[in-house]
């Protein structure tokens, strides 16, 4: 029983981080219909920013989180204006943007590889290796902190979307771009904002990831499929769905990893993706088969 509880806790803590990794992806798809294949590579960029600050002057990764988020958000504005803004009226918009983000992912990987080499890295603040003990069950501090910070950020994001004026504008643009524009929403500004927030979330996730997982520039290909399965299962564009799917799949993956073997725990995500596509192409929370 304690063993099961242990696996459950580890799965949930990781799930919290994965939820944050996926939420930016989900937001960007929801507002702009862009499937951002470069999202995981930008998370890794955020992880490198954090790693670098920690190595150079011992800055705590969690303190580095807002900085990393701000840098990535700024990059997001730049990227959106350079690459995606002009595609808004393209006939094959979704296909074009997927390919563009794919190209972007390679560029980010190349730049990171050039700057930081392909060695596996991990940020190692003290809490990354410590744990709390409750009876026989241990909770690694790093994963716990990361999971809690993630869920705090996601809660803040949800409240922002639900109650703020800009949140209204973002949701309205997601649901009906034309109508939002007609009611006075500057939809292009909202797109830039949502893209920047999405990348900011990638930067924030990167800081947490930097001490939870080891990473190297090409790692993002593994994550892209993992995050896509979370986001597709949650219903593209639904943040709540993403969180639920992330927690669910990480717990399943944790059990698979413990009972069957570590290699197969990542497989959980990929197989889940196939199963979802097979059974419910629109995901669990999506109401329309937008992508099918």
């Amino acid at each position: 029983m304690a063993a099961i509880l242990q696996i459950l806790i580890l799965g949930l803590a990781l799930g919290g981080v994965i939820a944050l990794m996926g939420s930016g992806l989900s937001l960007v798809f929801g507002v702009m219909r862009i499937v951002n294949l470069a999202h995981p590579s930008l998370i890794i960029a955020g992880a490198y920013i954090t790693y670098w600050a920690f190595k150079a002057s011992g800055v705590d990764p969690i303190l580095m989180l807002p900085v990393s988020a701000a840098i990535m958000a700024a990059i997001g504005v730049l990227l959106y204006r350079l690459m995606f803004e002009r595609e808004t009226n393209s006939v094959k918009y979704s296909e074009m943007t997927v390919l563009l983000t794919f190209a972007l992912a390679m560029m980010v990987e190349g730049v990171l590889g050039g700057l930081f080499t392909n060695t596996q890295r991990v940020t190692s603040p003290d809490y990354a290796t410590e744990a709390f003990f409750i009876g026989d069950v241990f909770i690694p501090k790093g994963q716990l902190y990361a999971g809690l910070v993630s869920l705090t950020i996601i809660t803040a994001l949800t409240l922002f979307l639900k109650y703020s004026r800009l949140g209204y504008a973002i949701r309205a643009t997601t649901q009906n771009r034309e109508a939002a524009e007609l009611l006075g929403v500057n939809v292009n500004f909202i797109s830039i904002l949502a893209f920047a927030i999405g990348l900011g979330l990638a930067g924030a996730a990167g800081s947490l990831v930097s001490f939870v997982f080891s990473f190297f520039p090409a790692k993002h290909w593994e994550w892209v499929a993992m995050l896509m399965s979370v986001v597709v299962l949650g219903g593209m564009g639904s943040i709540l769905g993403t969180v639920v799917a992330a927690l669910l799949l990480s717990v399943v993956a944790a059990f698979v990893g413990t009972w069957i073997g570590a290699t197969w725990s990542t497989m959980t995500f990929f197989l889940a993706l196939f199963l979802i596509l097979l059974i419910r192409p629109q995901g669990l929370f999506g109401e329309k088969p937008e992508m099918a």
Partner: protein, 242 residues
């Protein structure tokens, strides 16, 4: 000159595509219900989209209350008091009725005033008040169209433009929509609507406009349009049954 909105000889189209509107004109007088009719592809929706700033006007002029609207953004035109309800899905389906109304006042800066307006509107449309916390996408077609029209009233507009408000609704419900329009015009809101069901649209309007091939063929009192034998033959023939 009593016109509120004057559209003179405008040319417009989508992107680099051909001109859909080619020399259309339109006079809108305050307080009346105006109905634009014409066959598919005549440029009816395009005309409304050009007025509200969604399409760039290539030639000609749109003047509202003595002010030139050419080149203004949709939100600027909305602030001038022209509100456009596009065809079919004008709502935010996963927002509640109240949230939809709140979006209707997006350009208002005074939060308290906005909430007061929302309550006033809900007071006037009991059917919406009952469903204030329900997601818009779960309501019937007629209720959704009612919400779309009610939402325009939040900012007390001068002109409300409606693109085929009757689309996909049952005849009885359509009549309810026209009753709401009449109520709006009685309160001084000018209505400009595009109607596929020409006969029904004209019967419920004061002023009729016939558009075809991107040009205005006729403008006049709705009764005159209905009575004109050539228009009856070309544009009203198929709709006699309705």
């Amino acid at each position: 000159m009593s016109e509120l909105l004057q559209v003179t000889n405008i040319t417009a189209g989508y992107g680099d595509g051909p001109a859909i509107l080619d020399g259309a004109h339109l006079t809108v007088e305050p307080g009346k219900v105006h109905c634009i009719i014409g066959p598919n592809g005549a440029g009816k929706s395009t005309l409304l989209k050009s007025i509200c700033g969604m399409l760039t006007i290539r030639k000609g002029e749109v003047v509202f209350n003595g002010k030139r609207l050419n080149g203004m953004r949709p939100d600027q035109i909305l602030r001038e008091g022209i509100c456009f309800v596009p065809q079919e899905r004008a709502l935010f389906p996963k927002m509640t009725v109240r949230e939809n109304l709140r979006m209707g006042g997006f350009i208002l800066d005074d939060h308290k005033k906005l909430e007061r307006r929302i309550d006033e509107i809900l007071e006037r449309f009991p059917i919406l008040r009952e469903r204030a916390e329900q997601h818009a996408g779960t309501m019937s077609g007629g209720q959704q169209q009612t919400l779309a029209m009610a939402r325009t009233l939040i900012i007390k507009p001068a002109i409300v433009m409606l693109d085929e408000p009757s689309l996909g609704l049952a005849p009885k419900v359509i009549q309810e929509m026209f009753d709401i329009m009449k109520m709006m015009s009685a309160e001084g809101v000018t209505v400009l609507l595009v109607e596929q069901n020409a006969l029904m649209g004209l019967k419920n309007s004061d002023w009729g406009v016939v558009l075809d091939l991107g040009r205005t063929l006729f403008e006049g009192p709705a009764g005159d349009v209905l009575a004109d034998p050539r228009i009856q033959e070309l544009y009203l023939g198929g709709n006699k049954a309705a």
